[in-house]
Symmetry: C2
Subunit: 267 residues, 2 copies
């Protein structure tokens, strides 16, 4: 079911700026048995994104209501919430009076192979390098061609994700996940001031692990790390056990965070 401004016809105006310029934001929220423990983090990021893009403040209570409608009857659901600057005349200038468009789509949550969580996943290194735009870094906006092109680099169901670096070769994350590494006994995740998306699952990990270092991470340091995992609000904590010839075990830090996810009811 897709609600567009509360109406369940699943269609939007072709002159919506979300389509014409990617002028908007989105969130994908996992609901298990009607509950979404990360909901406040999703709404916080959405509100922050609206401030960054000079969009009106969304009515998060209305979004919660419509999300419940769109996901009704689904035991494990993913809600995608899209929030755009709405319809407007041609041209980059914002309309004088913005009527934002909200799109709330509910669908059954995908089932990732259970092996991923127990035995880990293989990832690859993408050749595409993320561009640096501090004005857009961190927020989950609708301009996602870099991720589309990076994801198009492989078509092998045995490869779970692609690692993305910036132009200077710093690791930023994966196409649809954030990355953590245990390096010299310290948990590390890349800073996202220049590029990348600051995931809500990443925020949850950071809240659990106040000792986690948020800083630059080179590919060399990643390859020498003792443990690597990915975080994603729908998939949760996914161990990385292979990249090229490098193998990692599923480590204790990863297992502890998986246990936290279970405790949240998000397994």
């Amino acid at each position: 079911m897709i609600l567009v401004n509360g109406v369940a016809d699943g269609m939007i105006a072709a002159d919506d700026r979300g389509l014409t310029y990617g002028d908007g934001l989105f969130e994908t929220v996992l609901f298990v048995a009607g509950s979404a423990p990360l909901w406040p983090r999703h709404m916080a990021r959405l509100v922050e994104g609206c401030a960054r893009l000079l969009l009106p403040v969304p009515d998060t209570e209305l979004l919660a209501y419509e999300t419940a409608q769109a996901c009704a009857g689904l035991p494990r659901a993913v809600a995608r919430i899209t929030f755009t600057r709405g319809a407007g005349p041609r041209g980059y200038a914002s309309p004088d009076s913005v009527q934002a468009t909200r799109i709330v789509a509910g669908s059954s949550a995908p089932i990732a192979p259970p092996d991923w969580y127990h035995f880990g996943t293989r990832v690859r290194l993408c050749t595409l390098r993320l561009s640096e735009q501090p004005r857009l870094a961190g927020i989950k906006h609708l301009n996602r061609l870099e991720q589309v092109l990076a994801r198009a680099e492989w078509n092998d169901a045995n490869i779970a994700e692609g690692i993305l670096c910036d132009g200077a070769g710093r690791v930023i994350g994966a196409t649809a996940a954030n990355l953590f590494a245990l390096s010299g006994g310290r948990l590390v995740t890349p800073g996202l001031e220049r590029c990348g998306v600051a995931g809500v699952a990443r925020a949850e990990v950071l809240a659990q692990r106040a000792d986690c270092e948020v800083r630059d991470l080179t590919m060399t340091e990643l390859m020498q790390a003792d443990e690597v995992f990915l975080s994603n609000s729908v998939r949760g904590i996914v161990p990385v056990t292979a990249l090229g010839d490098r193998r990692w075990p599923v480590g204790a830090v990863t297992r502890a965070l998986q246990a936290h996810w279970r405790a949240l009811g998000l397994e």
Copy 2:
């Protein structure tokens, strides 16, 4: 009138990847008395963009037919053609079988103040710096948040455009136009291998002026130039006569290209 896959209801599916990820391209084509001399250049750029984004090849004859429908009865029309990867399930991976969406919207061409062409325009320097992404540079894709944010920097009808630089301070163009400068007797326009959109009006100028140098252009060189103008497929050749305290005359090169635009029937 907006045709979506040939149907005039002006609505698209809310799960179209053009909306969910900005996964597509667009062109804005000026028609005067039903004629669009730059049409072949628009179609060439669209086809090139499809190759870059791994999209199916568009049927340009069908687009011409639908564009004529959408602009019928309008003496001066702008057609916006949008071409997306179509609807798809959640996730950045392209659907196995892509059914592209084509959107053709016709509207009356905006009337720019006639003074702009005769006496020139004032522009400003945007604080936003364009990010560098060679994989997306040059093509007219739907990820336009940088342009939206740059255009939001001013709200003064006396300022026609904002000049955009890259992170290294090189001039790239304007929010919705390419830029040319006469520097030391040579016509110069910035190279667009790292960022910017390679406009069809720019291509027309380059075809007229085989001596034009395509290379890096610093703000310092721009401020010392003898003539500056902007090119845009809808607005044509727009002289720049003021930026901050700097004043330029409307020069002979600009006037000659305006005359070429008149000869094309695009005044």
